[in-house]
Amino acid sequence: MLRLEKLTKTYPTGDMALQAVDLEIPAGQIVALIGPSGAGKSTLIRCINRLVEPSSGAAWLDDVNLTRLSQAALRRQRRRMGMIFQEYALVERLTVMENVLSGRLGYVGFWRSFTRRFPQKNVDEAYRLLDRVGLLDMADKRADELSGGQRQRVGICRALIQDPALLLVDEPTASLDPKTSRQIMRLIVELCAERGLAAIINIHDVALAQMFVNRVIGLQKGRVVFDGPPDALTAEVLTQIYGEEDWEATIRKPEDEDEAEAAPLPAGAGGA
């Protein structure tokens, strides 16, 4: 589905953010990308949809090489890659509905979007998604009136209304409290499963990553230093990724799993 071949990014400052990263993600797989700050996690997912231009290497989405596309072709491919941001990145002065519908900008013409007359099909889908994440009543509120967890759910709707094949998720829980973090992670994982989406999730919280994904990739100084199931994350591996520290408290113990399920998502039972 997604295949990275020797993907490299060197910033003009000389900072080698990615050093020949090879990676293959099959359709429908959810991958957590962990690593210390500055390891290149953000750069990696931004090089895939080319918000950051990679220096060399290739990124294949199915049989399209994303790194060689013209601007117009890149816009068409970006529609297939939904992105969810750290700090939500909603346009704060637009309404929730405008934020969600902005996920369709790659599909509709300028006048339609300028006059906010989106096809009825899109409007219905936006309402369904908002209902699915429990925010139907907030549709006409301005985005800056929402709480952090609510904003991130709007961000998820914006990514999903694109009808993507792949989700690029950048630190979705970085500014959320522990309970909301779990709800958001569970929501992302559930929605990916429902729709058969592949996802790359950058995440700081190792325990949270272990709780929700089947494959973890460790990045350190722009190189992949670990690729395996969450259970294989031992103290030695974490030391290799992050450096020396007491890891015993971070590594998931089997009995934690029941407790993880104890925080239900409010209004998660909408029709989708």
Binding site: Q77, M83, F85, V91, S102, F110, S113, F114, R158
Partner: protein, 277 residues
Amino acid sequence: MTVSEAEAQMALEARLGRPWRKPPLIRRAWLRWALGIGALVYLALAVASVEVNWARVYEGLDRGAAFIAAFMSPDFASRASDIYAGMLESIVMTVAASVVGIGVSIPIGLGAARNVAPLPVYLACRGLIAVSRAFQEVIVAILLVAIFGFGPLAGFLTLSFATIGFLSKLLAEDIEAMDRVQAEAVRATGARWLQWINYGVQPQFMPRLIGLSMYRIDINFRESAVLGLVGAGGIGATLNTAFDRYEFDTAAAILIMIIAIVMGLEYLSGIVRARVQ
């Protein structure tokens, strides 16, 4: 205790018990004092160099008193039709120049923001802004009166040109200071450039644009009173005539109306700005 721990301990001991002061802005003491004393000496010399002809000031006090007395009895009536025509011309100039100026400022402001426009467009727009800002309105008006003749057309063009320099620059600075991530999120959906501006950038600069536009309408009206002095039409021409004829009471009436309108606009812009945040 290891050697480095002992050193760290000593570094702390050396600081305990000593008062703390904010480090001075200029580190070198002699430079700090030299700059301070130099500024004082310059100020004293500058004040001493201003020549004041006290006899002339004494004579002028009478004229000043007559002027102020005229304000107590402003005469709106005897030149009412001139005042009305001048005011109307000023308002027309202000509205037309503001609409045209603001309309042109938006694309130029976008072009002059480095994070939105490519380098050649950026340089061209910044150049235009620099030219517009380099010339004071009155100087532009004198040039345009020479080209287009006396009347409000020259005033209208002057104000439009000045509005572009003012608004584009401040707008561009607001766009350059916008939250990059919000715009990035819109770009990541596959939006075209215009859609990106409309969804990701415009909502961020809109409140500032509205606030600045209100402020600029206010400035344009005040400037329209000055432009009349150089023949570019508007209430300034009427005001100038009144002064030339020593009709201080009519001049006072005009000035009071200008003050009232400016205060009204100020009040209005306060309301508008509070509502668009």
